[in-house]
Amino acid sequence: MNNLTCFTLAQSAKLLAEGKISSQELVQISLNKIQQLDSGHQGLNSFITLCDPADLLAQAKLTDQERFKNKNNLNKNLDKNILDLSGIPIAQKDLFCTQNIKTSCGSKILNNFISPYDATIIKKSKQAGLIMMGKTNMDEFAMGSSGENSFYGPSKNPWNLAYSPGGSSSGSASAIAAGLVSIATGSDTGGSIRQPASFSGITGIKPTYGRVSRYGMVAFASSLDQAGPMARTAEDCALLLNILAGHDVLDSTSSTQPLENYTANLNKPIKNLKIGLPKQFFGAGIDPEIKNKIQDSLKIFESLGAEFIEVDLPHNDLAISAYYLIAPAEASSNLSRFDGVRFGYRCENPKDLKDLYERSRAEGFGEEVKRRILIGTYVLSQGYFDAYYLKAQKIRRLISEDFQKVFAQVDLIMGPTCPSTAFKIGEKIHDPLALYQSDANTVAVNLAGLPGMSIPIGLSEELKLPIGLQIIGPHFSESLLLNAAHQFQLNTNFHLQIAPGFGELFHE
């Protein structure tokens, strides 16, 4: 073990349970790595806010004491089925409201905002004893695919610091890839968990819409937003999802579907698993190198007993267009509350109410956010509503039906998470349409409310940038997705690779 040792969540839990490491040590290692790798010009810039180190160590000390007490207390009836994750560091995306700690959403308009309440998943993380190291960087209001739309500057990809880690959960992806923490939360409206997971060579799962509470998650597009875990391994994602998932009376769109234990089925064989390969995911737009790596990974699934069927998602090509009408429409309304009146940025010396609104918003929001507010306001306007918003909703339904038909035939769908590997910071930021295209394979999943996952399947030949495989399942099939991913990871080591210079994974 040295200063740059990385742990998975499962490893940390095991080491803690065996008394081989303390929570204080885990927190100290995480703090050291953040100090060493995250700040400064050369740093990853994956955190917007870092919690007070003394406070973090104090929390760790408390969990260590608690753990020690429980170990010596034989009467204490601890549930052996639930792995104790208390005392393990986590990073939270900066759009989950946290009491006493700034929640900026990557925006200048919330640069001074401290929420008076905790988001439901923050509460759940605290109840599980996870120690929040800080809040991670992101595209402003989760709008973006590169992390470059952050008021706090872009995060960097540990595999090549000139490259983007993806977005919008850029900081969470970058922090896990660099081993600053083993787990983090992300949010995924059109691919914001899966795309950065793919670009940064980690594992991430966007659960079924409604599986994880949205209460306290700053809304981008309410009908598409879904929070989920990001980690190095599928097993870690399952462990974290066990904490995050569940019905919430404070979120009317959260599901009452019974909860599963997401680690229970990880080790089930996947023999005879029927996997659909949509021809649209393997068409002309795909980078040949990515296509090859995907074929290689499918061979591994084949060797585990899976069968493949070519399937059709005929409306997939319309997904981007529909998404970029529905999401901005909802966003334009969701972002109306940032008006300089009650919280957040307020312009100086407003002349009158109109001036207060106009300048607070003009000065507080970034370019991409303004662009989407304009698009959204336009498509909801009288005379355009039917042609844009309603039509997009109809496409949304068609896309959902496409998936339904396919899932009548197959258990899971697989394909590339992204058409390309990570792009250079600055490469696409001035071409929003090109940037939107990088969501081509992910947005349909959000439109249909399905669970989707990205797992690392290797590096590109020349640039050595990670490539991700996307796994999509029917509603509430998270358990099966995680099972398939875990079986793949048991037979490969792509997920264990760490970018050069960022230490190595702990081995016993």
């Binding site: 759009l95 989950f96 409201c97 929640t103 959403c105 919330l110 905002f113 929420s115 008076p116 309440y117 988001a119 949205r214 209460y215 306290g216 998650m217 700053v218 809304a219 597009a221 309410s222 009908s223 009376v249 404070l250 979120d251 009317s252 769109t253 429409a329 909802e330 334009s332 309304s333 972002l335 109306s336 509350r337 940032f338 008006d339 009146v341 009650r342 919280f343 109410l353 609104y357 306001t377 909801l380 306007s381 009288q382 509503f385 918003y389």
Partner: protein, 491 residues
């Protein structure tokens, strides 16, 4: 104020009304914040009411129940699926930058309300719809110089907006509609109905057209009227204004107007050209409201007797006239008081005479009413009083005197014994003792020889005067009917 006499010979008036009824739930429509009126500013607010980032609305089921009860009470179509939408506009007291309201798919569809007209006729007013929405906060412009203060206690208060068809044809009909609706929504207990506190506010849409023309004229909307009198004044003013404009060759501008109750006039607030595009769309935070129709049926069983049903019953069971019925069904409390007295074996007509007469006068004089003070006079005392009148222990005038005492000293007179003592103390017990009565009559005969002569010659009218004199002589204690008998016997 008769409808028939007030009709303008040239112009027909057309009125449609939207009423905002504040529902009397304990918590707000989309949060668990309290709804108490008059709390310190900004003390009944939480993340949802403030529109804090990340907060989400969750629908208060009690609000649904109240809306459905209203729908049932006007025999309306209850929509099994209704949808909350966002009405987007910026205003400092609108925390989220949008109001959650029902737009295309309201919870309550078409229904009917019967109103009474002045000539004892009735008219059916069609109700287009009723939908649920949240209220905004309050901007207070005169608290801090050059600044606007915002109180968000009202933000998120549950409202039911009831929209009528343009079926009303005069200010009197409009006021009757408002009063009937107010009576209904308070009777089914979906609102406290407090007008001063804004629990029942009306927007009045009004236009005029030449008699016989089918097409409606251009309408104006008078916003936020919270009194029946103001509604009548505002409408009368607006009719005059519109007639004046049209008759001088002008055109009505479609606009929203405000009523100034000091000057009794309406003023333009904003015209249609300034109307905003609210960019309505279904709120993605709230799934469609799906009603379990068997729940709706169960709810129908809990509906109390409606004012219209009660009126019909009072007419049939108690043979009262419409004015009496109106008084006795004004509130649940007065109806119950009346019916409890009926149960105690008093004549409905007699009770009605007392309640609508002396009792009502004393209530008004003491600034009391049945709603705020359910039993101004304990029912057993009032019943005892009625018994004493019936068995002639008390004369009517003596009973009035006692009733006034009961109102002014409720603490001193608590039991029937207290009542008897009071009657004794005031010496008001009616006397039917023949010796006593004969003594008085003999005195009257002696003192009024001329009048007695007139009576004997068949002038019956003089009887009233003589009995009056006799009553005075008895200091009100004698039973007038008995006095009359004795007089006739002795002359």
């Amino acid at each position: 104020m008769s409808d028939l006499n007030n009709k303008n010979p040239d112009w027909e008036v057309v009125i449609g009304i939207e009423v905002h009824v504040q529902l009397n739930t304990r918590s707000k429509i989309f949060s668990n914040s309290a709804t108490r009126f008059g709390a310190e500013p900004n003390t009944q607010i939480g993340p949802v009411d403030l529109g804090l980032p990340g907060s989400l609305p969750s629908l208060n089921q009690e609000v649904l129940k109240k809306a459905v009860l209203f729908g049932l009470s006007i025999n309306a179509k209850i929509n099994p699926i209704s949808i909350f939408e966002r009405k987007n506009y910026f205003y400092p007291d609108l925390p989220k930058g949008y109001q959650i309201s029902q737009f295309k798919t309201p919870i309550i569809g078409p229904g009917k309300l019967e109103i009474n007209l002045n000539n004892n006729q009735t008219k059916i007013i069609n109700i287009t719809r009723a939908h649920l929405e949240e209220d905004a906060g309050k901007s207070i412009h005169d608290l801090i110089p050059y600044k606007t203060a915002i109180d968000l206690n009202r933000a998120g208060m549950p409202l039911l907006e009831i929209v009528s068809e343009p079926d009303l044809r005069s200010p009197a009909e409009a006021v009757s509609y408002l009063k009937t609706l107010h009576e209904l929504v308070t009777a089914i207990d979906i609102t406290d109905g407090n007008l001063q506190e804004g629990s029942f506010r009306a927007d009045l849409n009004i236009s005029i057209r030449p008699w016989g023309q089918e097409k409606f004229g251009t309408r104006t909307e008078i916003k936020n009227i919270n009194s029946f009198r103001f509604a009548e004044q505002a409408l009368n003013y607006e009719i005059e204004r519109q007639i004046h404009i049209l008759e001088s060759g002008g055109k009505i501008t479609q606009e929203t107007r405000l009523f100034d109750s000091d000057k009794i006039e309406t003023r333009s607030m904003r015209s249609k050209e300034d109307a905003q595009d609210y960019r309505y769309f279904p709120d993605p935070d709230l799934p469609p409201v799906v009603l379990d129709m068997s729940w709706v049926q169960d709810l129908a069983q809990t509906l109390p007797e409606l004012p219209s049903q009660k009126r019909a019953r009072f007419k049939n069971n108690y043979c009262l006239n419409p004015d009496e019925i109106t008084q006795l069904t004004k509130s649940k409390e007065i109806s119950e008081y009346f019916e409890n007295l009926v149960k105690l074996n008093h004549e409905p007509k007699i009770i009605s005479n007392w309640l609508n007469g002396e009792f009502l006068a004393l209530l008004n004089k003491n600034n009391l009413n049945f709603s705020h003070n359910p039993e101004p006079i304990k029912i057993n005392l009032f019943s005892e009083l009625l018994h004493k009148i019936k068995n002639k222990t008390l004369s009517n005038s003596a009973a009035k005197q006692i009733l006034a005492e009961l109102f002014s000293n409720p603490a001193l007179i608590k039991t029937p014994e207290d009542l008897n003592n009071l009657i004794k103390k005031l010496g008001l017990e009616q006397v039917s003792d023949q010796n006593f009565l004969e003594k008085i009559i003999l005195q009257i005969i002696q003192d009024n020889p001329a009048q007695i002569q007139e009576l004997k010659s068949g002038k019956e009218k003089i009887m009233g005067y003589l009995i009056g004199q006799a009553m005075k002589l008895s200091q009100g204690k004698a039973n007038p009917a008995e006095l009359k008998e004795v007089l006739l016997r002795l002359i």
